[in-house]
C-alpha cells in the first residue's frame, strides 16, 4: 500500500474558450508505484499533455480542475495553495518539457538556470556547493561540466535535452514527467537518450511518466502503458499486455491489427474518421462514432473504466477478446 506514489482519482479538467468548454481531461484515474514507469500514449490533442500540466498545477487562467483528487504519498495536491504547490514542484514532481530547447531561457547560462532551482528550494548554501551539484548532474547525464557556463544556443539539440533532464533531476524528485522527450531529435540520438533515461530512472529509483504519440518509444521504456482518447483513459495495462492483448477497440486499431472475434467476420480496417471535437464530444463512449463494434448502448452511456482481470483496465462495453497473439 505504501508502495503507491501517485494516485489519481477521477480527475476532470476543462478549458473555457471562446468556442465553448473544452473537456480536456475526463474522469481519469490511475495509480503509479514508486520506481515504476508509466507511458501515456495517444493522438495529438487527446489530453496527455493536459494531464501533465494538471499534475503540476501549471494550468492557464482559463483552465479549471472540476473534480477529482491527485494523491501524492496520500496527500491531495489539488487542494494545496500556491505556496504549498511551489514546494511540490520540482522537489516532488518535475518535468522534462516537449521541445526542450524552448524551456531554457536564452539569456541565462544553462548552469545558472539549474542553480536557481537549487537555491529556490533551499538545497544548497553556497555557490561552490551549487556548482558542484550541477557538475555531478551534468556528468550523470553525459555532459561535460564545463558546459555549465555556456548559453543554451551554444548547445546542440541532444545536449539541450540532456541539460533539461539534468535540470529535472536537480532537486531529487520522486516523479519525473517526460513530455515527448525525444520528438524533436533525430532517431539515433533518440535511441541513446531513451536508454539512458531508462537507466537513470532505475539507478535513482524514481517514478516516471512518459508521454508520447509514438508507441514504439513508449514500449521501450514503460512498465505500464496507458492509452488515451479524447481526454479519457481507455486502456491501462502492463506494456506486454497492451501490445499483445489489447482490449479496447481503439488500442487494437493502434496496434494495427484486428483480431478475429466472436461474431460475424469483418474485414481488416483502419480507423475511419478523425478525433472528436472536445467542445461538443460525442454522447456516451467518445470513440463510438469510429468504432466498428459500437452498439446502441455505446452512444448512450459512458463505459466504466474497470479492471478486466489481472490489473488490465479498459473502458468499453464490448472489450475485445483476443485469441491469437500479435507481435
Amino acid at each position: 500500500m505504501n508502495n503507491i506514489l501517485l494516485d489519481v482519482q477521477d480527475l476532470t479538467m476543462h478549458y473555457s474558450t471562446r468556442g465553448g468548454s473544452v473537456a480536456a481531461v475526463e474522469h481519469v484515474s490511475f495509480s503509479l508505484k514508486k520506481g515504476e514507469s508509466l507511458g501515456l500514449v495517444g493522438e495529438s490533442g487527446c489530453g496527455k499533455t493536459s494531464i501533465a500540466t494538471t499534475l503540476l498545477r501549471l494550468l492557464p487562467d482559463n483552465a479549471k480542475i472540476l473534480s477529482g483528487r491527485i494523491l501524492l504519498d496520500g496527500a491531495d495536491i489539488v487542494t494545496l495553495n500556491n505556496d504549498e504547490m511551489r514546494k511540490v514542484r520540482w522537489e516532488r514532481i518535475s518535468m522534462v518539457f516537449q521541445a526542450a530547447m524552448n524551456s531554457l531561457n536564452p539569456i541565462h547560462r544553462v548552469g545558472d538556470q539549474i542553480i536557481e532551482a537549487l537555491e529556490v528550494h533551499d538545497s544548497v548554501k553556497t555557490n561552490r556547493e551549487a556548482k558542484d551539484r550541477v557538475a555531478s548532474f551534468f556528468r550523470l547525464v553525459g555532459l561535460d561540466p564545463k558546459l555549465m557556463e555556456r548559453y543554451p544556443h551554444e548547445y546542440s539539440g541532444g545536449m539541450r535535452q540532456r541539460a533539461v533532464i539534468a535540470m529535472a533531476l536537480a532537486c531529487h524528485p520522486d516523479l519525473i514527467i517526460a513530455d515527448e522527450p525525444t520528438t524533436a531529435l533525430d532517431v539515433i540520438v533518440q535511441d541513446n537518450l531513451l536508454r539512458e533515461m531508462s537507466a537513470l530512472q532505475k539507478q535513482l529509483g524514481m517514478s516516471m511518466i512518459y508521454i508520447s504519440h509514438d508507441i514504439a518509444v513508449i514500449a521501450e521504456v514503460s512498465d505500464r502503458i496507458g492509452v488515451m482518447y479524447a481526454g479519457s483513459l481507455v486502456e491501462l495495462a502492463s506494456a506486454y499486455e497492451v501490445f499483445h492483448h489489447p482490449r479496447h477497440p481503439y488500442t487494437c486499431g493502434l496496434m494495427s491489427a484486428f483480431p478475429s472475434i466472436v461474431g460475424p467476420k469483418r474485414p481488416l480496417v483502419t480507423l475511419p474518421g478523425e478525433p472528436p471535437n472536445l467542445v461538443k464530444p460525442p454522447s456516451g463512449c467518445r470513440f463510438h462514432p469510429r468504432c466498428l463494434y459500437a452498439t446502441d448502448i455505446c452512444s448512450q452511456k459512458i463505459p466504466e473504466f474497470r479492471d478486466l482481470g489481472g490489473g488490465h483496465y479498459a473502458a468499453c462495453f464490448h472489450p475485445v477478446e483476443v485469441k491469437n497473439a500479435v507481435s
Binding site: 474558450t17 471562446r18 492557464p60 482559463n62 474518421g273 478523425e274 472528436p276 471535437n277 461538443k280 464530444p281 460525442p282 463510438h288 462514432p289 459500437a294 452512444s299
Partner: protein, 322 residues
C-alpha cells in the same frame, strides 16, 4: 452518430465548381471581416477609440449644416467672422457663443468644428500616402532583395535617424507649407521610414510561404505574385499603421501650427498659437481659448491610437488573450 465528422460544403464535386470564384472570395472576405469585427468589439479599448472617432466625425459634419441653416456666416465664420455685438474680445461662453470668442472676435466653437475637418483630412491623406508607399516598397524590396533592398533600407535608416519635427521645423521656415503639402510630406516621410521596415519584415515571412512557391511554379509573373498574393496579406498591417500615422500627423501639425510655422486657414494648433500671440496663454481665466483645442487634439490622437492598439491585438495573434 456521424455528427462529429466534418461535413464538406457540398458533397457533390461538380456543384462546387458551379459557384463562381469571385463569389467564394467575397464570402470568405466577408466572413473574415465579421470575425475580426467580433474580436475587435470584445476589446473595450478599441471601442472607446471608435466611439471618439465617430463623435468627432459627427461634430465635424455638423458644421456645414450649422453654417447653412443656423448661423450667420459673417459672425460665425471660423476665420473671417466677427461678433460685433459683444464689446470685449475674447469673451466668455455665452448663449450665442457656447465656447466664447477668441481675441479676434471669432466664435471658438465654430473654429473647433472647422478644425476637426482639417485634422481628419490631414490625417487621412498622410496615412493613406504612408500606407501606399510603405506597402509597395515593403513588398517590392522583400521580394527582390539585393540592390533594391539595400537602397530603400538605407533610405529608411536615414529617415528613422532623423527626428521628424526638427526637420519639419526647418522645412517650414524655409518653404511656405500648406496643409496639403504637410500631409504629403508627412506621408512620404513615414512611408519610406519605419513603417516600411516593419511591413518589409512581414512581407519576408509571406514570401517564404509555400503558396508563393506554388504560384511561381504555376507560372505567375513577379508583379502578379506581388500584387495578388503578397500585398493583400500586408493590408491588415498597413491598415494598422495607418491609424498610428493619423495620430502622428495630427500631433505634428498641431505642434507646427503652435509655433506659427504653417500657412493654413484654421486648425486646433493654430487656435492655440493665436492665443499665445495675443498673450493669453497663461491666463487661466480665459480657459476656453486653450482647453477645447488642446483636448480635441489629445482626444482625436488618442482615439486613433486606441483603435490602432486594439487592431494590433487582433493582427498580432501572440498578444491575444486566448
Amino acid at each position: 452518430m456521424q455528427e462529429t465528422l466534418v461535413r464538406p460544403l457540398s458533397t457533390d464535386g461538380a456543384s462546387l465548381l458551379q459557384i463562381p470564384l469571385w463569389r467564394v472570395r467575397l464570402k470568405l472576405f466577408l466572413r473574415s471581416i465579421k470575425t475580426n469585427l467580433c474580436l475587435f468589439s470584445e476589446n473595450p479599448i478599441g471601442l472607446v477609440g471608435v466611439v471618439l472617432i465617430i463623435f468627432f466625425f459627427l461634430f465635424m459634419s455638423a458644421h456645414p449644416i450649422l453654417m447653412k441653416f443656423v448661423w450667420d456666416p459673417t459672425i460665425y465664420d471660423p476665420v473671417m467672422g466677427f461678433e460685433s455685438a459683444i464689446a470685449e474680445h475674447p469673451s466668455a461662453p455665452s448663449p450665442g457663443h457656447l465656447l466664447g470668442t477668441d481675441p479676434m472676435g471669432r466664435d471658438v466653437l465654430s473654429q473647433l468644428m472647422w478644425s476637426t475637418r482639417a485634422a481628419f483630412v490631414l490625417g487621412l491623406i498622410a496615412a493613406s500616402v504612408t500606407a501606399i508607399i510603405a506597402t509597395t516598397v515593403g513588398a517590392v524590396t522583400a521580394y527582390y532583395g539585393g540592390l533594391v533592398d539595400t537602397i530603400f533600407m538605407r533610405l529608411a535608416d536615414i529617415i528613422i535617424m532623423t527626428p521628424g519635427i526638427t526637420i519639419l521645423i526647418v522645412l517650414a521656415t524655409l518653404v511656405d507649407l500648406q496643409m496639403i503639402h504637410l500631409a504629403v510630406v508627412l506621408g512620404v516621410l513615414a512611408g519610406f521610414g519605419g513603417t516600411t521596415v516593419i511591413i518589409k519584415s512581414q512581407a519576408l515571412t509571406i514570401k517564404v510561404r509555400t503558396y508563393i512557391e506554388a504560384a511561381r511554379i504555376a507560372g505567375g509573373s513577379d508583379w502578379h505574385i506581388i500584387f495578388r498574393h503578397i500585398i493583400p496579406n500586408l493590408l491588415p498591417l498597413a491598415f494598422l499603421y495607418m491609424m498610428f500615422g493619423v495620430t502622428t500627423a495630427i500631433f505634428t501639425e498641431s505642434v507646427l501650427s503652435f509655433f506659427g510655422l504653417l500657412n493654413i486657414r484654421m486648425s486646433w494648433g493654430l487656435m492655440i498659437y493665436q492665443t499665445s500671440v495675443s498673450g493669453y496663454l497663461m491666463d487661466m481665466s480665459k480657459w476656453w481659448l486653450i482647453y477645447p483645442a488642446s483636448l480635441s487634439i489629445t482626444m482625436l490622437c488618442a482615439a486613433f491610437y486606441l483603435v490602432g492598439r486594439a487592431m494590433d491585438e487582433i493582427i498580432n495573434p501572440r498578444l491575444r488573450k486566448r
